[in-house]
């Protein structure tokens, strides 16, 4: 079995938001929706403080709350571990947006152009992939993964802080990094078993 996972090395991440932009370019998300975000925060107290960065994307949980609570069956977890939303089945009740503990689901209430009154050719093409009134989220760049490529944020990361691979294979890069560097997931107490691991910033 394959279980796709992502490892983000917080020691390498410099908070440049290249992944955010690469994701936006790849998925042509509308204004205000970013499947990938980078939180920036202060660690410690001045004068012994530094900036911390936390890139957050859909965690593709093994036990996804959103999938469990989706009334229409629009959200499903594929056999390879990727959680996807079928936009033709989604009725836009937005409960998954409420129940996702990581805030990585977005309700598309209107498709907005980035620059007012002007639509770039790319937006014109890309916005066709989105459906107004449904919920959307990161799908680990499913089309790229099916072609055998890595997600856009992994490829574009300038610090090589992101890794993508198979969590079920103990010899894969991601499994070894998690074991070697004691990778952890966010809020494990919620029991969602995310597939996005973080390597500590020390």
């Amino acid at each position: 079995m394959t279980r796709y996972a992502m490892v983000i090395d917080l020691k390498k991440c410099i908070g440049c938001d290249t992944c955010t932009i690469a994701c936006r370019a790849e998925n042509a998300t509308t204004k205000g929706i970013l499947f990938n975000r980078v939180f920036k925060f202060e660690v410690g107290k001045y004068p012994h403080s530094k900036l911390g960065f936390l890139p957050v994307t859909c965690m593709h949980c093994a036990k996804p709350e959103c999938e469990k609570q989706c009334p229409t069956g629009a959200t499903t977890r594929r056999k390879d571990g990727i959680v996807i939303v079928d936009k033709d089945k989604c009725m836009g009740c937005q409960y998954c947006v409420v129940t996702c503990p990581y805030g990585t689901r977005y309700y598309l209430d209107k498709i907005e152009k980035y620059v007012k009154g002007f639509e770039t050719p790319y937006e014109k093409k890309g916005h066709k992939r989105h459906k107004k009134g449904t919920v959307e989220k990161c799908d680990f760049c499913l089309k790229r993964v099916e072609r055998g490529e890595k997600p856009a944020c992994v490829v574009s990361c300038i610090a090589n802080a992101r890794y993508f691979g198979d969590l079920d294979d103990p010899n894969s890069e991601v499994s070894r990094l998690i074991a070697l560097r004691r990778g952890y997931t966010l809020n494990p107490e919620l029991g969602t078993e995310p597939s996005v691991y973080y390597l500590p910033d020390y």
Binding site: L10, G32, I33, L34, R37, F39, K40, F41, V43, G52, L54, V56, E65, K68, Q69, C70, P71, T72, G73, A74, D88, K89, C90, M91, G92, C93, Q94, Y95, V97, V98, T99, C100, P101, Y102, G103, T104, R105, Y106, Y107, L108, D109, K131, K132, G133, T134, V135, L186, N187, L190, G191, Y198, P200, D201
Partner: protein, 300 residues
């Protein structure tokens, strides 16, 4: 810490209005059923419960439909009753509304197809009452199972919605039947209501006290007690929703104008109970090596 506005979403005003209408409608229907069993001679209250029940829940459900992004596929909402509370709720609401309108059609509307066969109506009304209880509590379970929001993750919420819904149901019933009710029947309704108001006040106290002990939910409680929601809580819930109805009903002594004010205030209070519970919700912050990152904006 930077936030993206579109991910802040917690339920909005349409959902709060749904909770309000479904609370009054479901509550009135359950109270009507209780009267049908205990005091069958009070036909006007029993019929009042049926008249308020399904139509109000239907109005609430229309708000739910308006909230959907793709109402065309709303029928899919019943697909997963084995796991999703929204699916269960959709089935409960649909059944309740259909049963209620059958009751209205067979008993209250001029063409009384099934005549005055009271046992039939009693059995029907009991089933209707069961679905009324389910209508009141399923949203509590829906909130209870939302693990991302600690302020909601408590089994006391279904109980609070049940008691508050019953109390609102009585307020609604008194409002529509007050003109034709005898004073001792009215007093009986008022006495039931006073007990429910005391229960509701206790549950709200236990709820907030318990949630204050939960680290992740304390911020929500503080927003109610002294934060941005304090006016809605102290004025809307405590003063208008609990104190005014309680004292007006106790001291009113059956006075119709005081009872009227008590009922209107109680309904407004019921709205604010739902308003503050929905609005105070905050997601568990992400914990990165001890640093907490809040997904919802922090009120000042």
């Amino acid at each position: 810490m930077r936030n993206n506005p579109k991910s802040h979403f917690i339920f909005g005003i349409k959902i709060i209005l749904y909770l309000f209408f479904a609370g009054v409608g479901g509550g009135a229907s359950v109270v009507g059923t209780i009267f049908h069993i205990l005091r069958p001679q009070l036909e006007i209250v029993i019929k009042g419960g049926i008249i308020l029940g399904a139509p109000l829940v239907l109005i609430g459900s229309i708000f739910l439909l308006l909230d959907l992004g793709q109402p065309k596929v709303a029928w899919r909402a019943i697909s997963r009753p084995n796991k999703a509370w929204i699916s269960r709720g959709t089935i409960i609401l649909t059944t309740f509304i259909i049963l209620g309108f059958i009751q209205i059609g067979t008993w209250i509307w001029p063409f009384q197809g099934l005549g005055n066969y009271t046992n039939f109506h009693l059995i029907f009304n009991v089933i209707n009452g069961v679905f009324g209880v389910l209508t009141l509590i399923y949203t509590g379970f829906l909130f209870d199972t939302t693990r991302s929001i600690p302020f909601w993750s408590t089994p006391i919420l279904p109980l609070l919605f049940l008691v508050s819904g019953l109390s609102m149901g009585i307020f609604g019933l008194i409002l529509i039947t007050m003109g034709s009710l005898e004073s001792h029947s009215l007093n009986f309704l008022i006495q039931m209501d006073i007990i429910l108001i005391i229960l509701e006040a206790l549950i709200i106290f236990f709820y907030l006290h318990g949630m204050h002990e939960v680290t992740a939910a304390r911020a929500s409680v503080k927003r109610l007690l002294k934060g941005d929601l304090s006016y809605q809580f102290w004025l809307g819930v405590v003063f208008i929703g609990i104190l005014i109805p309680f004292f007006f009903e106790i001291l009113g002594g059956g006075s119709k104008s005081l009872t009227l004010i008590a009922c209107l205030a109680g309904l407004i209070g019921g709205f604010f109970v739902r308003f503050v519970i929905v609005s105070a919700a905050e997601k568990t912050p992400l914990n990165v090596e001890g640093v907490l990152i809040y997904l919802t904006p922090r009120p000042k």
